[in-house]
Amino acid sequence: MSTLEFLAPVAAGEDVVARSPMEALARDAGARFEVRDGFNVAISYPAASYGETVSWCDTSHLPKLQLQGSSKAIDGAAGIKLQAGTALRRDGAWWCRLTNERALVIGARPSELPDDVDVIDVTSVFASLTVSGPLARECFARFCALDLRPAVTPVQALRPGSIGRQPGTLIREADERYLILFGWAVAEYMWSVVADAAGHLGGGPIGVDQLSERNMSHQSTPNTDA
C-alpha cells in the first residue's frame, strides 16, 4: 500500500465495518443502522419528528480529506478560488479553506486531485453532527460563542472555532441546518452537550435518511477561473 493509505478508514478486508464514535449512543437512543460504503450509519430513529424544534444527526461517516499546498495549488484542486470563511459546494462535498496552505473537503473523496496538493484522509480525525431545525441557532447558543446571526453567518459560511469548549468547525449548510466537525475522541462528550441543549428545547436525534433534503438548499457555485 502507499505510504498514507493506512490513515483512511477504508477497509482492506470485506467483513470490516467502520464505526462512528457515537454509535453506542445512537444505538441506546434507538437508531436503526445500515452499512453504507463500509460505514455503519444510523439511518433512522422510529420516534424521530423534530421538524418544529431541533434535531441532531450523526454524520461522522462523511469522508473528509485535508489538502495541503500553496494557496494557488489548493484553488487549482478546487477548480475555483476558495475563500476563508466560506464553504463551497462542489461534487457532493464542501470545500473549505482553513488557512492559506490548508483546506478540507467534506462529504466526498474527489476522484482526481492534482499532484501539487498533499492529500491526507482525515475522515476519522473529525467526527461530525448535523444540527437542523428552527431552534438550531438557539441550540448552539447554549454551548457555542460563535455569532450565528444570519447577517453575520449566512448560508455557506465556514466558521472554525470553539464548539462546546472544544476545537471545532461549523458550516451553515442551509437556512436551518449546520454541520459541525470536532475531534473523533471528544464525540461522546459532544453528543452529550448537543443532546443536553437540544433535548431541553424539545429536540432529539434523527438518522441520515431523516435529514431533510429540502433543507439542503445550497446555492450551486459557478465554475470560474478566479
Partner: protein
C-alpha cells in the same frame, strides 16, 4: 393580612392565595407578592440579624439593593426577601440568629459596644495563643455571617442554561431612558437586547413603551440582572438562565440608587428609604407604617410624604435638609404637614422597631433645635447616586459633582453610552430624550439609520437640558455619639469604625475598604460607598473628589454559585475502543483530558501476563503527528537534540524534546515512513502542546514542512509479551519473524483486515507491536487481537500495569520522573544529545553548557530488600539527614517480586550498589541504587 385598598399599580393577584413558612410559621400571601411584602403585611418587622452585631434588621430599600432582608429559601442562602417572589410551599428561614430570630444570644456583641469589636478585632484579639486559632475561628465563623449552607440538604437538579446572545446593541435598564434607547436603536435597524432587573418597568407603568420596544424587534430580558462588564461581554442572569450578551455597543440606563442617611440607629427596623415605603404601598398594597417622620435632601422625600399621606400614613414631620423651603414643601405645609427646612434626622430610637425619631437643625450639636416624635416609621432620602458600577467596569470615569454631592459620569469609553438618570437626565422627558439619543447614536455608529436619524440626533443634541431638582448634600453623619451610625449595613461598619481605620493609618479609601470591609458586602457599595467616602473626607478634612471611589467588582448582583457553574457536562476524550474497556469492567480514570482504563481489576496479574504470555493495551491517547515535506527531516533535526534526517524509511527512533533552556519537554518515538514523511508520537498529555510547539517553530522558520495532527484520528494498541509474535502473525499479512521485523522497525501492513502502521517498540520491555490504524476501526482491531490471543493467554492491561512494566525497564515518564528542571544529562540520557550535529537545534546552547557542567543530582533506579513500597514523592535523605532528592516512581514488580523505583539522588550516589535512605511519612527505608534496567537489563528479550 392587612392590606390597603387595591392600588392602581399593584402587582398582587388578590384572587390567588398562596402560603409559605417563615421559621416554621405559616405565612399567607397573594400571587405576585414577594416574601418580604407578605411578611410585612403579616406584621413582621425584624427579618434577620446583622452580620457582626446581630442587630435586628428589616425592610429598607424594597428593591434588592440593601442586605437587610437576606434570608434563605429552601435551604439556599442569600435570597433577598424584598424581591424574591413568594411561591407556594417554600421554606424561608432567617439568617444569623441563634436560637431564634427574636432571642439571639449573640446580641450581646451589640451591647458591649464597638470598644471591644473595632475593625480587625479578630486579628487583634485572637492572636494568642496561636495554637488556639482553629478554635477561635470556629466560634467566630458561627458568630458572623449572613446565612449557612445546609450540608444535609438533598442534592437537587439545578439546571442552568447558558445562552450566548450576540447583538448590535445591549441596553441595560428598562426604565424610560432604556426603553427609548432600545426602541430608537431597533427602529434604526439594529439588533437590540434590553436587560431589565424587573422592577423599573413595572413600577413606572412603562407597559406601552415596552410594547413599542418589542414591536420594534427588541428582545427584552425581563428580570435579567447584568452582573458585570467583562471587556464588553455582559452576563445577564435571569432565573435559571445566564445570558452571555456580546454586543457591539452598550447603552447603560441604570438609573440612580436612593441613598440612606447616616444617623444614630439608622438600621432599626422601621427606618426605610422613601422608595422602599412607596414600593410596599403601591406595588404590594401594604401599609409601611402608621406614623412617619420623613428626612430628605430633595423633593423626592416630599413627594413620598404626600403619596403616603394619601394612603393613610400620618406624616408627623418632614425634615428637609435644604435651607429654603421648596414649592412642594409649601404645598405640604398648606395641607397641614410640619416641614422643617435645614433639618435632618439625628436619631431613631426603639427596642425592636422604631418608637421615636429625633430631628434637629443642621449644626454641629443640634442643641436646642431638637424635636422628638413618637413614630413607627422613619423615611429617609439621602440623594440619588448614579448607578455607575457597570459603566466604571466598562472603562467610564466619574468625577465628584459638588452640587449633587455624588460622583457623576465624566467620561465614557468608545462604544459605550449612558442615558437617563445615571447620566443626569432627570425627569421623564429628559430621560426619554437622552435614551433616544443614546440609542440612535449607538445604531448610527454601527452603520444603521438614515438621514432622518442623523437629523433627529441633531435635534436631540441641541434640546435644552433641565436643571432638575434642588438638592442638599447629606451630612457625613448626624447624631454621632448617640449610638451606632451605620455607614455599611452589610458588614456592620459604623461611622466610628471609618474614623478609627483612618487613625490607624488606613487613610485612603482603598485601604480603608480592605480594613473595614466597607463596600465589600452583598450590597456592593450601593448603600455604603457614598457614605463611607463622605466620612473619610470629613475625617481627613479632604474633598470627596480627592478621596475618590473604588470600583465595584462583578458580580453587581449576588448570584448563586450554581448559576455560574454551567451545565454538568465535562469535556473528555475517549478512545474509540472505550466501549470495550467499559464492557470489561475497567477502572476508568482521568489521564490528562482522556478517560482511560487504569486496570481491569488486577494490575499485578495484568503486568505478569505481559511478562509471561501476552497483553494488549489501548494507547490511542498517544499524540500522533504527521510531518511531511522535503525539509521534514531537517525540521525534526532542529527540534530534537538527536538526528532524524539520517533515519532510514521503515525505522523508528526514540526522541526527547528539549526546550531552549535545555530542559526535557516531551518524548516519543518517530518512524520514518518514506523520504518526506515522518510519523511522530508524543506523550498522551503532551500531544496538544507538542503540536503547538512544532507549528510555532514552523511559523517562525517557514520550512517546506506540513503538519497534520492525527491524535484523535488514529487508534493505537500495543500488543506485547513473549507470545505477541505468534498472535501478530495470526492477524497480520506482515512477516513477523525476528529477522524480517526487527526491533525498532516500522512497517505498513494489514492487521485484522485493516491497513495499519506497526512499530516494533518496547516501552513495556517485551516483544511489542504498537499498531496504529484509523479510529473508526478501533473495536474491530481490538476484538480481533483479543480473539487471536485467546489461545496464547492474552490479557488486556491498563495504564497501571503499564507503569509497572515500564518501571521494570527504567523507561522514564516525562512529567512523572522528570520535572521542568530536568535535563537529558541528569535524567541519564546523555546519549540522546548530539552536540556534534552540524546544524543548530532547540536547546543546543544550553545543553552544550550543561554537558560541561556535571549535574548535581541524577535520576537512578533503586530497589528495597523487603516489601515496603515508598510513596511517590518521598524524600531521599543526604548524608547529613537533609532532603537531597525524591522518589519519582515506585511499585512492586510482580515478575521480580520486589520493590523497584526511580529517584533523584545526589550525583555522588548515582552508582550501582550505593545505599540511600528514604524518609517516607515517618518511616526510614534503606534502599540500594541500581542504574541499569531491573528487567532484561541488556534488552535481549526486547530485541529477540
Amino acid at each position: 393580612m392587612s392590606r390597603l385598598e387595591p392600588q392602581p399599580g399593584e402587582r398582587i393577584d388578590r384572587s390567588k392565595r398562596i402560603s409559605f413558612t417563615f421559621d416554621g410559621k405559616r405565612v399567607e400571601a397573594f400571587e405576585g407578592d414577594t416574601i418580604g411584602s407578605a411578611l410585612y403585611a403579616a406584621g413582621r418587622r425584624t427579618f434577620g440579624r446583622s452580620f457582626k452585631y446581630h442587630r435586628r434588621r428589616g425592610l429598607m430599600c424594597v428593591a434588592g439593593q440593601c442586605p437587610n432582608c437576606i434570608c434563605s429559601v429552601d435551604g439556599a442562602p442569600g435570597a433577598r426577601a424584598c424581591i424574591e417572589p413568594a411561591r407556594d410551599g417554600i421554606v424561608v428561614q432567617h439568617v444569623n440568629a441563634e436560637p431564634s430570630l427574636e432571642h439571639d444570644v449573640m446580641e450581646v456583641t451589640d451591647r458591649v459596644g464597638t470598644k471591644f469589636t473595632p475593625p480587625g478585632f479578630y486579628y487583634k484579639t485572637f492572636i494568642r495563643p496561636r495554637r488556639l486559632w482553629p478554635l477561635y475561628e470556629k466560634v467566630l465563623r458561627n458568630a458572623a455571617g449572613l446565612g449557612k449552607l445546609r450540608h444535609e440538604q438533598p442534592e437537587r437538579e439545578w439546571r442552568t442554561e447558558y445562552r450566548r446572545r450576540h447583538a448590535d446593541v445591549l441596553v441595560v435598564g428598562g426604565g424610560t431612558a432604556g426603553l427609548h434607547a432600545a426602541t430608537a436603536a431597533a427602529k434604526a435597524g439594529a439588533d437590540v437586547v434590553l436587560a431589565d432587573e424587573g422592577l423599573a418597568a413595572k413600577l413606572a407603568d412603562l407597559g406601552e413603551l415596552a410594547t413599542a420596544a418589542r414591536d420594534a424587534g427588541v428582545e427584552i430580558i425581563e428580570g435579567g440582572s447584568a452582573l458585570g462588564n467583562f471587556d464588553g461581554l455582559v452576563p445577564v442572569w435571569q432565573g435559571d438562565t445566564m445570558h452571555q450578551v456580546r454586543a457591539a455597543r452598550h447603552v447603560f440606563a441604570t438609573g440612580t440608587i436612593e441613598q440612606p442617611l447616616v444617623f444614630a440607629g439608622n438600621d432599626l427596623p422601621g427606618v426605610m428609604l422613601t422608595g422602599g415605603a412607596l414600593r410596599l404601598a403601591q406595588t404590594y398594597a401594604v401599609a409601611p407604617g402608621k406614623r412617619a417622620v420623613v428626612a430628605t435632601t430633595s423633593d423626592r422625600g416630599l413627594e413620598a410624604a404626600r403619596a403616603l399621606r394619601e394612603l393613610g400614613v400620618q406624616i408627623v414631620a418632614v425634615a428637609d435638609l435644604r435651607p429654603e423651603i421648596s414649592e412642594l414643601g409649601r404645598a405640604l405645609r398648606q395641607d397641614g404637614i410640619a416641614v422643617f427646612p435645614n433639618y435632618t434626622v439625628v436619631e431613631a430610637r426603639g427596642r425592636k422597631i422604631v418608637e421615636r425619631a429625633v430631628i434637629g437643625a443642621m449644626n454641629p450639636t443640634f442643641a436646642g433645635t431638637e424635636h422628638t416624635f413618637g413614630v413607627d416609621l422613619v423615611l429617609m432620602s439621602g440623594g440619588a447616586m448614579p448607578a455607575t458600577s457597570l459603566l466604571l467596569q466598562a472603562g467610564a470615569r466619574t468625577e465628584y459633582d459638588e452640587r449633587h454631592g455624588h460622583f457623576a459620569l465624566a467620561q465614557l469609553p468608545d462604544g459605550v453610552f449612558a442615558a437617563g438618570e445615571v447620566a443626569g437626565a432627570v425627569g421623564e422627558e429628559a430621560a426619554a430624550r437622552s435614551g433616544e439619543l443614546a440609542g440612535l447614536r449607538a445604531a448610527l455608529e454601527l452603520g444603521y439609520g438614515d438621514a432622518d436619524s442623523r437629523g433627529r440626533v441633531q435635534v436631540l443634541e441641541t434640546a435644552p437640558t433641565e436643571d432638575g431638582d434642588q438638592v442638599a448634600v447629606a451630612p457625613a453623619v448626624a447624631g454621632a455619639g448617640r449610638g451606632k451610625c451605620f455607614a455599611c449595613f452589610c458588614e456592620d461598619v459604623t461611622s466610628k469604625d471609618i474614623g478609627l481605620s483612618i487613625d490607624e493609618g488606613y487613610d485612603s479609601i482603598e485601604l480603608s475598604k480592605r480594613y473595614t470591609t466597607v463596600t465589600m458586602g452583598p450590597c456592593q457599595g450601593r448603600m455604603c460607598q457614598l457614605p463611607s467616602v463622605r466620612l473619610m473626607a470629613q475625617h481627613n478634612g479632604s474633598s470627596l473628589g480627592d478621596v475618590g471611589v473604588t470600583t465595584a467588582r462583578p458580580p453587581w448582583v449576588s448570584v448563586p454559585m450554581g448559576i455560574l457553574g454551567g451545565r454538568p457536562v465535562e469535556p473528555a476524550k475517549r478512545s474509540s475502543i472505550h466501549p470495550r474497556h467499559r464492557a470489561l469492567g475497567a477502572s476508568v480514570k482521568w489521564a490528562g483530558d482522556w478517560r482511560r482504563a487504569y486496570d481491569y481489576g488486577d494490575p499485578a496479574a495484568e503486568a505478569l501476563a505481559v511478562n509471561k504470555a501476552a497483553g494488549l493495551i489501548d494507547v490511542s491517547t498517544l499524540g500522533k503527528l504527521l510531518v511531511r515535506g522535503s525539509e521534514a527531516g531537517a525540521f525534526l533535526d532542529r527540534l530534537y537534540p538527536n538526528r532524524f534526517s539520517n533515519l532510514n524509511p521503515g525505522r523508528t527512533r526514540y526522541g526527547v524534546i528539549s526546550s531552549d533552556a535545555g530542559r526535557i519537554v516531551d518524548d516519543g518515538t518517530i518512524c520514518r515512513l518514506d523520504d518526506d514523511t515522518y510519523y511522530v508520537t508524543t506523550t498522551s498529555s503532551g500531544a496538544g502542546a507538542v503540536e503547538e510547539w512544532f507549528s510555532w517553530w514552523l511559523a517562525d522558520w517557514q520550512m517546506d514542512v506540513r503538519l497534520t495532527d492525527l491524535t484523535q484520528g488514529m487508534s493505537a494498541v500495543n500488543l506485547a509479551g513473549p507470545n505477541a509474535r505468534q498472535i501478530m502473525s495470526a492477524v497480520s499479512d506482515l512477516d513477523c519473524s525476528a529477522e524480517a521485523f526487527k526491533y525498532m522497525d516500522g512497517k505498513l501492513g494489514t492487521v485484522a483486515g485493516v491497513n495499519a502502521l506497526v512499530l516494533r517498540i518496547g516501552f513495556v520491555g517485551e516483544i511489542g507491536y504498537e499498531i496504529h490504524f484509523p479510529a473508526a476501526f478501533g473495536e474491530h482491531v481490538w476484538d480481533a487481537l483479543m480473539a487471536a490471543g485467546a489461545e496464547h493467554g492474552i490479557k488486556p492491561f491498563g495504564l497501571e500495569p503499564q507503569r509497572i512494566l515500564r518501571l521494570q525497564k527504567m523507561h522514564i515518564l516525562v512529567g512523572q520522573d522528570t520535572d521542568s528542571e530536568s535535563t537529558p544529562f541528569a535524567a541519564a540520557m546523555p546519549w540522546i544529545v548530539k552536540l556534534d550535529k552540524e546544524q543548530d537545534f532547540i536547546g543546543k546552547w544550553a545543553l552544550a553548557h550543561y554537558a560541561e557542567l556535571p549535574p548535581s543530582t541524577a535520576l537512578v533506579g533503586f530497589t528495597l530488600p523487603n516489601g515496603d513500597v515508598p510513596t511517590e514523592g518521598a524524600v531521599v535523605l543526604g548524608d547529613d539527614g537533609s532532603a537531597a532528592g525524591q522518589v519519582t516512581s515506585s511499585r512492586h514488580s510482580p515478575v521480580l517480586d520486589r520493590t523497584i523505583g526511580m529517584a533523584w539522588v545526589p550525583a555522588a550516589l548515582a552508582h550501582d550498589g550505593a545505599k540511600i535512605t528514604i524518609s517516607d511519612e515517618g518511616r526510614r527505608l534503606a534502599a540500594e541504587i541500581q542504574t541499569r534496567p531491573f528487567y532484561d537489563p541488556d534488552g535481549e528479550v526486547l530485541r529477540s
